[in-house]
């Protein structure tokens, strides 16, 4: 490509590169992986929420037909470091002396069939001694609550920059606390009003359709082969190397297509148990969880958020203090990282003189909570942007006007030391307000609500490497560690290469991911595919392009900038020269492959609160037009408009699909979707009882508008997408409900029962 030429592949109406394999059923997932001689693993799960494990008797299970191996907690003795977790290594591969939630894994069996494995599990006898259970955060934080971990697990606090800090185990049953502060708290004294409000956020399960599943083979000579449905193969490799003390170079992690993850498929899930069983039996072991087990494996964080916001009478925001509690469940998983993000993001997209935020990860006897699309930003936005609306209404100011007044400007650093915001947020708000009919007169019980979700994007301290090589006849190979989980990364990243190499998309092959050969990447998360990996990929492609042009210039006796590429010919003025014969001539008959590497990482910067400046800012705008039936509390959505800013849309339908999918997930969260517990027991942990949005739940009108404001740091001005449109939906719905019927709900989901009881309380039903 040359810089003046119009783009040919970026933004073009072309099929996704995975379209054919996915519509024909040919796409292969980890779920499909099989090997001759493979065994099947199943685990026994705790029936107690919190108990000492006194005895596990597996002798009868060992004698069952088809059984090749049974593992219990004592077998962890031959594993060098049998615990995992992101910052805090507190989750044992199998429970040893204690179980900490109903569903904790106690024993594992490998058998010829899943049926035999399950039959054997039924013969394992576990003797428990119950301990007081901590079903929720209030119970866990009580003075007399028992510590879920008597001894402090090994953990680290990552380096933070200006204003940020972290602490391990700051108090009883809090595994991690993140704090951020900027500006002088005395500005609260200048405020005309100070408002304090509390919000509650319910927890969802990811409900990715492809289960947690892996196929593990511990081969002779301690060589590990692992195919797994996972979002971050390289960090997973590192965890496995640490747990089993095996060199990373002897571990091959393969990730084929992933059937959805939404955050859940980060770090160890099924892999350590499958590997232990494979080592024990010498056979490949497939370990696939049922959807019911998925509910017990990873969830979103339920949260309680308390905000105190100081404001002038004209609506100018001055200061915000917040305290967020995240229900982390029984093990820390990614909780410290989620806390960091929830705590950091809770100020929202507005300008303040002072921000002070604390976010605690509270351990309870619930399934472990971990990464979930939005990563703390969903919780933060729910509270933050609900409160902005409440304050506006209390002051008698139009909520949209109040937002417009306080939004951080385009290119203005969000907080001191941060990068400038790379979207014009007013432009986006204006757009959705117009589309949703914000100014139109409304009938009784009908309301329109707006909201903005805001998060730093691209991950903290996140490196990505990529490699592009071109064979003699112009076939392009792209090697990078971004997992195709549905987001369209294979397509978009291949499009970037095709654009740079001036070739059709079909010529670019996205090679299978194998940690032995694929360049290093930190993981497919944080909307980093385009914004971080995209930059690495673009650099790799540009390096190859440059080498090719250099070679051609030497062969043609000219300068590289006099040449351009066109589908593996080089164009020099009016002449075109096929590259293959030129390369053969130069390098000898067998040819040559041009190879280029690319790398991207935000530089470390101690002035930035999270140690690197945010790569980009992911913003989601939402406008909701709804009616409330005052007799039933039922909410009817007439129109939902969401918008994200792709910077530049590499593939328009992919961008639209990301926003629509995210927004519908957000709508489910707003209205009904949640994990329901009776004490410590999950009562709706299966597909039938757990309500997710179906096509019939779509709003009457549902629009996702992709903006292309052009300020992104990624290739051709692109930035990340896929999480933003989820963030503002719940708050927009609550804001619209208040406008419709004058009641404010501060607890999710916004069920008819809750709406109705709020109406009754307000004497409006």
């Amino acid at each position: 490509m040359n810089d003046q030429a119009p783009l040919r592949v970026i933004g073009a109406e072309i099929e996704r590169s995975d379209a054919h394999v996915k519509v024909t059923g040919r796409a292969r997932y980890s779920y499909d992986a099989a090997r001759p001689g493979m065994l099947h693993a199943k685990v026994l799960r705790s029936t107690r929420a919190h108990a000492k494990v006194l005895r596990v008797d597996a002798s009868a299970a060992r004698a069952m037909p088809g059984v090749h191996a049974v593992l219990t907690g004592v077998d962890l003795a031959d594993v060098p470091m049998p615990v995992y977790g992101y910052f805090i290594k507190d989750q044992p591969i199998l429970a040893t002396d204690r179980v900490r939630y109903e569903g904790d894994m106690v024993a594992a069996v490998a058998a010829e069939t899943e049926g035999q494995a399950n039959a054997a599990l039924a013969r394992i006898v576990v003797e428990y001694e119950d301990l007081p259970a901590l079903p929720d955060m209030e119970a866990a934080l009580a003075e007399d609550a028992p510590e879920l971990f008597e001894e402090a697990p090994i953990g680290i606090v990552p380096p933070y920059g200006a204003g940020s800090s972290g602490a391990l185990r700051p108090r009883r049953n809090v595994c991690y606390s993140y704090a951020y502060e900027t500006g002088d708290p005395s500005v609260f004294d200048e405020c005309d009003h100070v408002f304090e409000d509390e919000f509650r956020f319910s927890r969802m399960h990811h409900l990715h359709l492809e289960p947690f599943v892996c196929l593990a083979h511990w081969k002779e000579g301690d060589e590990i082969e692992l195919t797994t449905s996972c979002q971050n193969p390289f960090p997973l490799r590192k965890e496995i190397a640490r747990i089993f003390r095996v060199p990373e170079s002897r571990i091959a992690v393969h990730v084929p297509f992933v059937g959805g993850g939404f955050g859940s498929k980060n770090n160890c899930k099924t892999e350590p148990i499958a590997l232990m069983l494979s080592r024990r039996t010498g056979r490949p072991v497939r370990f696939c969880l049922t959807m019911e087990e998925g509910f017990l494996t990873n969830t979103q964080h339920a949260a309680i958020l308390r905000l105190k916001t100081g404001v002038m009478a004209d609506g100018t925001l001055v200061a915000r203090q917040s305290h967020v509690l995240l229900d982390s469940g029984a093990y820390s998983d990614a909780s410290p990282l989620v806390a960091e993000k929830a705590g950091y993001r809770v100020a929202g997209p507005y300008r303040y003189k002072h921000i002070s935020s604390v976010c605690d990860c509270v351990m309870t006897n619930q399934p472990p909570a971990g990464p979930f699309r939005g990563f703390g930003g969903t919780q933060a936005t729910w509270a933050s942007d609900s409160q902005i609306d409440m304050i506006a209404r209390r002051l008698g100011i139009d909520p949209m006007e109040m937002r417009m007044k306080n939004l951080v400007d385009l290119h203005e650093p969000w907080v001191p030391g941060e990068s400038g915001v790379d979207s014009d947020m007013r432009e986006g708000l204006d757009l959705v307000a117009r589309e949703v009919g914000y100014d139109r007169p409304r009938e009784a019980n009908r309301g329109v609500g707006l909201s903005i979700g805001f998060k730093d994007g691209g991950g903290v301290n996140k490196p990505a490497q990529a490699r592009v090589k071109v064979s003699t006849n112009g076939d392009v190979h792209l090697m990078c560690g971004t997992v195709e989980i549905g987001q369209g990364a294979r397509t978009a990243l291949s499009q970037v290469v095709a654009e740079v190499m001036d070739c059709p998309l079909a010529r670019v092959e996205y090679l299978p991911l194998d940690t032995r050969y694929t360049p290093f990447d930190q993981g497919t998360n944080a909307s980093s595919g385009i914004s971080v990996m995209g930059q690495a990929v673009e650099r790799a492609a540009r390096s190859v392009r440059q080498q090719v042009l250099q070679m051609a210039a030497e062969e043609l006796g000219t300068e590289p900038d006099k040449l351009r590429l066109d589908n593996w010919t080089v164009i020099h003025g009016n002449e075109s020269h096929a590259l293959a014969p030129m390369i053969m001539g130069r390098y000898g008959g067998t040819g040559f492959e041009f190879t280029g590497d690319g790398f991207h990482k935000q530089p470390n910067d101690h002035h930035a609160p999270l140690e690197t400046k945010s790569v980009f800012w992911e913003i989601g705008w939402a406008g909701v037009d709804l009616s409330v039936d005052p007799e039933t509390g039922q909410v009817f959505i007439h129109k939902l408009v969401v918008s994200g800013d792709a910077g530049r849309a590499i593939h328009k339908l992919v961008c639209r699909g990301q926003d629509e999918g995210a927004a519908l997930m957000g709508l489910g969260q707003a209205l009904y979707e949640r994990m329901i517990h009776d004490g410590t027991r999950l009562v709706n942990g299966e597909a039938l009882m757990y309500r997710v949005p179906l096509a019939e739940d779509l709003p009457e009108v549902f629009e996702a508008i992709t903006q292309e404001q052009g300020h992104g740091p990624g290739p051709f001005g692109a930035k990340g997408m896929g999480e933003g449109a989820m963030l503002p939906v719940a708050s927009a719905v609550a804001n619209a409900i208040e406008e419709a019927v004058g009641v404010r709900l501060t607890e999710l989901p916004l069920t008819p029962e809750r709406v109705l009881s709020a109406l009754v309380e307000a004497g409006k039903a």
Binding site: K22, G25, L653, G661, A663, P693
Partner: protein, 169 residues
């Protein structure tokens, strides 16, 4: 004719993607296991395993069925269509497949085989379905990724293509 032996073994014969097949299986074998593990037709996805999500939908005599919860012996004498059976001999995509590809009516793709087969059944029943009808039909399957809009648009597009073809014939 099914023949049942004492040890739960059973022989079944049915039509699979237009071809007659017969298989020795067991009385507890599900159709999804038979297809995926015994016949290596892995395009049928399994997610919930409980007749809820529809990822495993196949057509039995043209009607969508959850293969995860259908016993293999239940398809005795019937005609089963899986995602592998939709392409023409020469690899031409079925109009529904083509529309899903064109509209990017998938993301992770895990629901896609089931959605496409569901849409096939819908279009066999209603040549020009309105949006409401499409919504109703599609509501029997879960897609966690797309938000359904593009799926609905793909079904509309496929209906148009098919109507156009019919008119031309």
């Amino acid at each position: 004719m099914t023949t049942l032996s004492e040890n739960g073994k059973i022989d079944i014969a049915f039509t699979l993607n237009g071809q007659p097949v017969s298989r020795a299986t067991t009385t507890s074998r599900t159709l999804s296991d038979l297809l995926r593990d015994d016949m290596d037709l892995k395009g049928t996805r399994v997610a919930c395993g409980r007749t809820v999500c529809g990822a495993c939908s196949v057509l039995v005599d043209g009607f969508p069925r959850a293969a995860c919860s259908t016993f293999a012996f239940e398809v005795e004498g019937r005609s089963v269509t899986t995602i592998e059976g939709l392409e023409a001999e020469d690899g031409t995509l079925d109009p529904v497949q083509a529309a899903f590809a064109k509209k990017s009516a998938f993301q992770c793709g895990y629901c896609t085989s089931g959605m496409i087969l569901l849409a096939r059944a819908l279009l066999a029943e209603h040549q020009r379905p309105d949006r409401e009808t499409i919504r109703e039909w599609i509501s029997s399957n879960i897609c966690r990724c797309t938000g359904y809009q593009l799926i609905i648009e793909a079904v509309e597009e496929a209906a148009e293509t098919m109507a156009g073809k019919e008119a031309a014939e």
